[in-house]
């Protein structure tokens, strides 16, 4: 069953584009990555799902319910963590979390205590006195305290030190094992690679690729690095499927998508010292999409 269903979603702020045409779905129990650079439309998509903004066209549903019409009902089972968290400065962490918990019809005290302990968060501190990283921890507890069925994260790891990031990712995996679906937006591809099973790549307001993380890497992409005995000419590599080409004297490197036989035929015509052909990581594929 699809937990999130986005169909031809479009959002314009006056004449300015938010998103152009976004369609994807997230299945129950999935850890879904949503990647793209700043301004591509990740946050706009997420804010539409959360009914913070209204779509210009298209539709979005969560748990089979329309995101705009059934927003309060949907929100009962959604946990949201934005990239930057802001809370009421005069409050103490514990009071803020209690206030947040008061919106859900369940006792969240045990859960708050557990999550705070996991993240080393002092509940007695005032929000004003917290560092950016500690505010983020408040955001994490706030997003997870009601054991949501869907967790939406918009660039969530900014501001957390590596150790805390690990703990946070472990908490997310724990939630995912419990059955929660996760929609994880990021521009840090290694995070998505580590955590997600499927990924959607967004560029200039459109989904340009939607695939399993593994498949995306296996999709005939090769990272080629070679060293020739004599200086190389860029023209040698002018063929379909070559991207991110760099030639430096007798050394060259590029990302290749296409027939391996074709690639080998070209390479066999060169007088080479060495050649390596590897699976590129997601980051390199991603850069390729943006060229």
């Amino acid at each position: 069953m699809a937990i999130v269903e986005v169909s031809h979603l479009k959002k314009y702020y006056g004449a300015a584009r938010g998103i152009e045409d976004v369609s994807f779905s997230v299945e129950e129990g999935e850890f879904f990555g949503f990647i793209g650079p700043n301004g591509a439309g990740k946050s706009t998509t997420i804010r539409t799902l959360l009914a913070l903004i209204r779509p210009t066209a298209g539709s979005a549903s969560i748990f089979g319910k329309d995101c705009v019409k059934s927003a309060p009902e949907i929100a009962r089972d959604v946990g949201y963590l934005p990239s930057e968290v802001f809370y009421y400065d005069g409050m103490r962490v514990g009071d803020l979390l209690k206030y947040s918990a008061s919106f859900y019809k369940k006792d969240c005290r045990e859960r708050i205590a557990y999550l705070a302990a996991q993240l080393d968060l002092d509940l007695k501190k005032k929000i004003d006195d917290l560092s950016f990283g500690n505010r983020k921890k408040v955001g994490i507890v706030q997003a997870l305290l009601h054991s949501p069925k869907l967790i939406i994260l918009d660039e969530p790891s900014a501001g957390l030190d590596p150790l805390m990031q690990q703990r946070f990712f472990e908490l997310l995996r724990e939630e995912n094992r419990r059955g929660a679906t996760v929609l994880f937006s990021s521009h840090v591809l290694s995070e998505v690679q580590k955590l997600c099973s499927r990924v959607a790549i967004i560029k200039e307001g459109r989904i340009i690729q939607l695939d399993a993380v593994g498949a995306l890497r296996e999709d005939n992409y090769k990272k080629v690095a070679l060293e020739a005995k004599a200086a190389l000419d860029e023209a040698l590599f002018k063929m379909d499927g070559v991207a991110s080409l760099s030639v430096n004297g007798s050394a060259a490197g590029f990302i290749y998508r296409g027939s391996v036989n074709q690639l080998l035929r070209v390479l066999s015509g060169l007088d080479l010292e060495s050649v390596t052909i590897q699976e590129p990581d997601l980051e390199e594929i991603f850069l390729h999409y943006y060229q």
């Binding site: 702020y13 903004i53 309060p72 929100a75 802001f86 009421y88």
Partner: protein, 264 residues
């Protein structure tokens, strides 16, 4: 209910300060009444020499200055200005603080319909204004009783005191509606002060021009003290218009708040 209580907690100190200040102002101004009433004739003569604008601005009327109710017109004119600033700052800030403090994302992703959020918020600031008004009205009645040497008709005085609350309500919903339409109002107090004084000046101008239709443009002219002093009643068309304006601004504020985009 939790949003309502949260807002009350956020505003109780602010409300206490405004209420105490208004209370102190009321007591102070009433304490001047014996001096005024003792020299009523001389004061009336002096007042006659001032332009009409001054009489209108200060709420001092030549024929009414000697009575406690007539003097109260002067008090209520001034303190309504202060109360209006309080109400408008509350109306604006209860919505705008979520945008300027960037807490709107937190609040509006809770499982509560936006209409209920707006209702809880306006109810909380309405409570604050009602508390201030109740204290002001009670204190006005007590002070009037204390300083008037002789029995007097309480009705005009109470109607004027109650008009303080009505004008406050009008500025409260005006602020609420303004903050719904323009989410990022950062300088809440300067905006409220300018708006309140602009409407006050507009009221004086309307009175000077003698055009009653222009009275509808200024919240301060809906409950004109001179009319209350002389007829012991409100002007029915203005009372109806007040109801329409308050209901209209509230409904407009709700509609905009429910539908507006909350941008990052």
């Amino acid at each position: 209910m939790n949003i309502y209580l949260h807002e009350l907690r956020a505003y109780w100190k602010n409300t206490l300060i405004w209420t105490l200040s208004l209370g102190a102002g009321t007591v102070f101004m009433f304490s001047m009444f014996p001096a005024f009433s003792g020299n009523a004739v001389a004061l009336s003569d002096a007042l006659k020499n001032y332009p009409l604008m001054i009489q209108l601005a200060f709420g001092l009327f030549v024929d009414q200055i000697g009575s406690v109710s007539g003097f109260y017109s002067f008090i209520v004119t001034f303190l309504t200005l202060v109360g209006s600033v309080q109400a408008m700052t509350l109306g604006i800030s209860v919505l705008s603080k979520e945008t300027t403090g960037r807490t709107a994302d937190f609040l509006l992703t809770r499982p509560v319909a936006r209409g209920r959020v707006a209702a809880a918020k306006i109810l909380a600031v309405f409570t604050c204004v009602a508390v201030t008004s109740a204290a002001f009205i009670t204190l006005s009645a007590v002070c009037a009783q204390a300083v008037s040497g002789a029995p007097f008709n309480h009705r005009p005085l109470l109607l004027m005191a109650l008009s303080f609350f009505f004008v406050q309500l009008m500025f409260l919903v005006l602020g609420f509606c303004a903050a719904a339409v323009i989410p990022k109002i950062r300088s809440v107090l300067p905006v409220s002060l300018s708006c309140v004084f602009a409407f006050f000046a507009l009221g004086i101008l309307a009175a000077m021009l003698g055009n009653e239709k222009l009275y509808y443009l200024s919240p301060f002219k809906y409950f004109e003290t001179y009319r209350i002093l002389t007829t012991a009643s409100y002007n029915p068309p203005f009372l109806a218009a007040w109801g329409l304006v308050v209901a209209g601004l509230t409904a407009a504020g709700f509609q905009v708040f429910i539908r507006r985009d909350v941008r990052a």
